[in-house]
């Protein structure tokens, strides 16, 4: 599998160990892993101009950073793994700086999907979506994070998706192997 691993520039030690562990497991299983380190200081904020929908469909009009290149890699990967410190039950600023700009990979228009109003997909397939959160996370934040992955899946409609949270090094490898097995990314 061609797997895109999205990590944070501003990651604390547990984040770096988590991403290294995931990369190691995936590569030992024979997958091709491309690591991209996202930096919210370098990615420009989405300005909600809708240009990526209505002026240059499928491409953000801010072109002096890496967002379009990452969006292309995202849509062409078989699976995307996001490794993010859980901030208030959501993604960190580094990871979210790309996600905000990734709306170029969905369409304008509104349609009903699973009882809610969503935008249709731009591409036929969206990669398997794996959100790995880490940090000292409360139970309520954990519930928000896993619910967020469900909501994101309604917007992006990957074939499979999962969210998990790693609290410490002891459970790191076991938890990562578990979720990759559930998604049949590893045997």
């Amino acid at each position: 599998m061609n797997i895109l691993l999205l990590c944070e520039w501003n990651a604390p030690d547990l984040g770096i160990r988590t991403w290294n562990a995931i990369q190691g497991i995936l590569e030992r299983e024979g997958h091709h892993v491309q690591v991209i380190v996202l930096n919210s200081k370098e990615l420009k904020p989405c300005v909600a101009c809708l240009g990526c929908w209505l002026k240059t469909p499928g491409q953000c009009q801010i072109t002096n950073d890496e967002a379009n290149s990452v969006a292309s890699k995202q849509i062409n990967a078989d699976a995307v793994v996001l490794v993010s410190e859980v901030i208030y039950g959501g993604f960190s600023a580094d990871i979210k700086s790309f996600l905000d700009r990734s709306i170029q990979n969905i369409m304008p228009y509104f349609e009903n999907y699973k009882g809610e109003t969503h935008h249709p997909m731009r591409y036929k397939n969206f990669p398997i979506w794996i959100a790995v959160g880490y940090g000292n996370v409360s139970d309520t934040e954990k519930r928000t994070f896993t619910a967020l992955a469900e909501k994101n899946a309604l917007n992006m409609r990957p074939a499979k998706h999962i969210a998990t949270i790693v609290n410490n090094d002891d459970e790191l490898e076991k938890e990562v192997r578990n979720i990759l097995r559930v998604l049949e990314v590893i045997a």
Partner: protein
């Protein structure tokens, strides 16, 4: 009473700004407003963050981005959290999310602001999730009648809660406007706008097989 608003929108004059202005009118108070995207990029942001934390009320108003907070707002809130002086008087937190058509989609964003308040040990009050907030552009000056009246009433309740220092459960409000009509008008306006821009194919797939 010192009231400070954080505008989490990338647009200085968007819906979040309209809501903050309306809250200022309803409260009959001056609201000092900071735009998150500007604040996190200024060199004197620590000074501004200290001023924000001196407020009695912190009103966080933002649009929903991918089911959550726009990233500059996340960045600003983490800096606020790390600056809070425990033991000092801290602002009470209210929030308003201007979201997608379904108000249910604002639930997680409201939860995130509550998580922020708890992490920063700021007194959490409650939030309002507004569905199809972009309709406020069409609401005119007087929101108390017509399509924005439910939003108006929710904001009036928030004003009372601010003045009486009350907390409560989150409130979800929408416009008096048929959903099917909203979607139809939006879908047609996307096509018209694209046509004006000379776009022939809104369904373009520029990245197909680009990385193979």
């Amino acid at each position: 009473m010192k009231i400070t608003a954080i505008n989490g929108s990338p647009k200085a004059e968007g819906i979040s700004s309209l809501i903050i202005n309306k809250m200022g009118n309803l409260l009959d108070e001056q609201i000092e407003t900071y735009q998150a995207v500007c604040l996190v990029r200024t060199e004197k942001h620590q000074e501004d963050i200290a001023r924000i934390l001196e407020s009695d009320i912190l009103l966080i108003v933002f649009p929903l981005f991918i089911d959550a907070l726009p990233f500059p707002l996340i960045e600003l809130l983490t800096r606020l959290e790390s600056t809070v002086c425990h033991g000092a008087e801290t602002p009470r937190v209210f929030t308003i999310v201007n979201g997608a058509l379904d108000t249910a989609q604002t639930v997680l964003a409201l939860n995130m602001i509550e998580h922020f308040a708890r992490r920063a040990r700021l007194p959490w009050r409650y939030g309002i999730g507004i569905g199809a907030g972009s309709l406020l552009y069409n609401a005119g000056e007087d929101w108390s009648k017509g399509l924005a009246s439910d939003v108006h009433h929710a904001l009036c309740d928030l004003v009372v809660a601010i003045k009486e220092n009350r907390s409560g459960s989150n409130i979800y409000v929408s416009f008096k406007f048929p959903r099917i009509l909203y979607k139809t008008i939006a879908n047609i306006s996307f096509l018209l706008e694209a046509k004006r821009n000379g776009v022939k194919n809104l369904r373009a797939q520029p990245y197909v097989n680009q990385e193979k």
